[in-house]
């Protein structure tokens, strides 16, 4: 029950959509393909399903078996579509069992599988309805049921939640996570929503312009983004970037990054971006470590009350910073000069020219 994508490239006419993608998904992993729209994530998924032919090099392996040239139905995969793609003229029962009938599964067995799936997803009272008579969440369930009946090696989900409202989305997220746990299924989930990615994934693959940027578990991708794109794309509000130079000792402002695990020995004078997450910007020194934190005076230019905390946009020299402070009775006031403390223990440093992590 594993999936391997090897050196996959894909072009539409002369435009490269996927460039040398390598991915490895093991049994029971929940991989989220994350990227902005148009980054090639759906194309990648279509290549895995076999709906898109692989003509420009690369191969797909499922369970170690080469399936690059196999028809979709022979790959033992199942897919849930963004629009659900339920057959509008069939009842829910027919929708779920259609694939089994196509595969000539005996009737008694179909009935048995159906009963099991229906119970699992709690849709037994919807069986005789047509998709038009279902709500968004119910359609979603039926679409998942239709994928589950095949007991596939790999589940593919193409932005399955983007048609649900916010509340339902949270519910479905929990449900999907539960389902994954219960079935120990191997799942590939495509989304452009970084919250979905962070909450669902055991492994995130960030894709941009057809190039795989980073693959790792949610913490890795969040804490140590491999380049500025990943850093900006994951996390809301987005990471703060302050441009500067690497130096041994400071000029006017210096950030204590001596502990920073540089990949290569840092070269002095190199122009860099320092990336700090909003939650590492504080309104009080608290019990921050002196060695990794610094204070600075900034001007407040916007305050957003988010309930448990406030998001404060400040101006620091030429750049803007967002800080996420606990929502106390003393909120920062617009236009005021305040002092903030930045914790650089979890910061990221990117080269200004390549935007790669240093």
């Amino acid at each position: 029950m594993s999936l391997t994508v090897k050196e996959l490239s894909k072009q539409f006419d002369t435009i490269p959509v996927l460039q040398n993608i390598n991915l490895e998904i093991r049994q029971g992993e929940f991989l989220v393909l994350l990227g902005p729209s148009g980054c090639g994530k759906s194309t990648l998924l279509n290549c895995v399903t076999g709906l898109e032919a692989i003509e420009d090099g690369g191969s797909i392996l499922i369970n170690g078996q080469e399936v690059t040239d196999k028809a979709p139905k022979d790959r033992n995969i199942a897919m849930v579509f963004q629009s659900y793609a339920l057959y509008p003229t069939m009842t829910v029962r027919k929708n779920i069992t259609f694939g089994l009938q196509c595969r000539k599964v005996p009737k008694a067995q179909i009935e048995q599988i159906l009963r099991k799936i229906v119970e699992l997803l709690q849709i037994s009272d919807l069986l005789d309805r047509k998709p038009a008579a279902l709500s968004g969440g119910q359609r979603q369930r039926v679409a998942i049921a239709r994928a589950l009946v095949h007991e596939p090696d790999v589940f593919l989900l193409d932005e399955p939640m983007s048609n649900l409202d916010a509340k339902l989305r949270v519910e479905m997220r929990v449900e999907l996570k539960n389902l994954h746990r219960r079935l120990n299924a191997t799942i590939v989930f495509v989304t452009h929503d970084q919250v979905e990615a962070m909450t669902l994934a055991t492994k995130i693959a960030v894709l941009n312009k057809g190039v795989l940027q980073q693959v790792g578990n949610p913490d890795e991708v969040y804490r140590t983004p491999t380049n500025r794109f990943v850093a900006e794309f994951i996390g809301s509000p987005s990471m703060n970037f302050i441009s500067g130079k690497l130096d041994v000792q400071s000029g006017n402002t210096c950030f204590p990054v001596s502990h920073y695990p540089f990949r290569d020995p840092p070269s002095i004078g190199r122009p860099v971006y320092l990336g700090v997450r909003p939650e590492n910007v504080h309104a009080t020194p608290g019990d921050l470590d002196q060695d990794t934190s610094m204070d600075m005076d900034v001007r407040v230019i916007n305050v957003e009350n988010l309930g448990p905390d406030v998001s404060v946009l400040c101006k620091f020299q030429d750049s803007q910073l967002i800080g996420r402070f606990l929502n106390t009775s003393e909120k920062p006031v617009y236009g005021k000069q305040i002092r903030i403390w930045m914790d650089c223990a979890d910061c990221s440093i990117f080269c200004q020219s390549t935007e790669e992590r240093l």
């Binding site: 979709p72 793609a85 069939m90 694939g99 196509c102």
Partner: protein
């Protein structure tokens, strides 16, 4: 709910006046035909064209149906109806089915050059029939089906397919592509997807195709006249024969009755299926 009462306005009066005038204009020939068909020949000669018959006379209708002369045989339009349906129904089924298949293949299973093929097929829609008469005659002769009902069926199928293909193609391109993908992943093949997923979604466009092709084949005159089987010509050719050959006096009542009889099936189809027709025509254009 009752529609809101619109206040009186001269514009409205003008609109209704125009509409009524047009209605009268278009219905008056039908009225005259109906009235004339129920008059005896004597009354036709003496009375006004627009007056209803003084005594209702059904002889025109019975003669038209049963013993008006088409060429040498005097059996009315009755046998020709049968001949027409024997051609229309197989031709209809074949051209709708083939057109649906074509449309499906051209949209959902696109292949290299499929658009070119569609373009070529559409040429068939825009060529006048007369252009082909002699080549068709030669082809049918070579195939050994010249002057047979089978030849006409083949002919009508070939000429119906471009139109039905275009109709079905334009409808099928509006279907969401995910449905096809889902069915492919479900393991359904070309035919299963067509019969179980695509066709059940297309009743309105099927109705449109059926109406257009039915009236097309039924109303066809030039092929029926040229390639119809002697003695078993389709009804249009027979009607022409009845109306245009005169033995002594022109029997207007018989001619009108025969014409009305001949027009009835298409009239019936439009009345019954007109609703579907409009729905189907628009459903192809706008998604939903």
């Amino acid at each position: 709910m009752r529609p809101p009462v619109t206040p009186f306005s001269w514009e409205r009066v003008a609109i209704y006046f125009c509409l009524s005038a047009f209605l009268l204009f278009f219905l008056s020939p039908l009225y005259v035909m109906l009235m004339t068909s129920f008059k005896s020949l004597d009354e036709i000669r003496e009375s006004n064209l627009l007056l209803p018959p003084q005594s209702w006379f059904f002889g025109g209708w019975t003669k038209a149906w049963d013993h008006a002369c088409v060429g040498l045989s005097c059996n009315g339009v009755k046998p020709h109806f049968m001949a027409t349906f024997a051609i229309t129904i197989p031709g209809l089924i074949l051209s709708v089915l083939v057109g649906a298949f074509n449309g499906y293949a051209l949209t959902q299973w696109k292949f290299r050059g499929s658009d070119l093929l569609l373009g070529g097929l559409l040429m068939g829609c825009f060529m006048p029939f007369q252009l082909y008469l002699i080549p068709i005659a030669i082809t049918l002769r070579e195939l050994g089906i010249f002057g047979t009902s089978f030849g006409l069926i083949l002919l009508h199928t070939v000429y119906g397919v471009p139109l039905t293909t275009l109709l079905f193609r334009n409808y099928f391109v509006t279907l969401p592509p995910e449905l096809m993908k889902a069915a492919v992943i479900d393991g359904a093949g070309f035919f299963r997807i067509f019969f179980y997923v695509i066709l059940p979604m297309s009743p309105s466009i099927i109705m449109v195709a059926v109406i257009l092709i039915f009236t097309g084949i039924y109303n066809d005159f030039i092929f029926a006249l040229t390639f119809g089987e002697v003695g078993k010509q389709p009804v249009m050719a027979a009607l022409n024969n009845i109306v245009n050959s005169t033995y002594g006096v022109k029997e207007h009542n018989v001619n009108m009755a025969a014409t009305l009889l001949t027009a009835m099936p298409t009239l019936f189809i439009y009345l019954v299926a007109g609703k579907f027709f409009i729905r189907g025509l628009t459903s192809g254009a706008v998604k939903g």
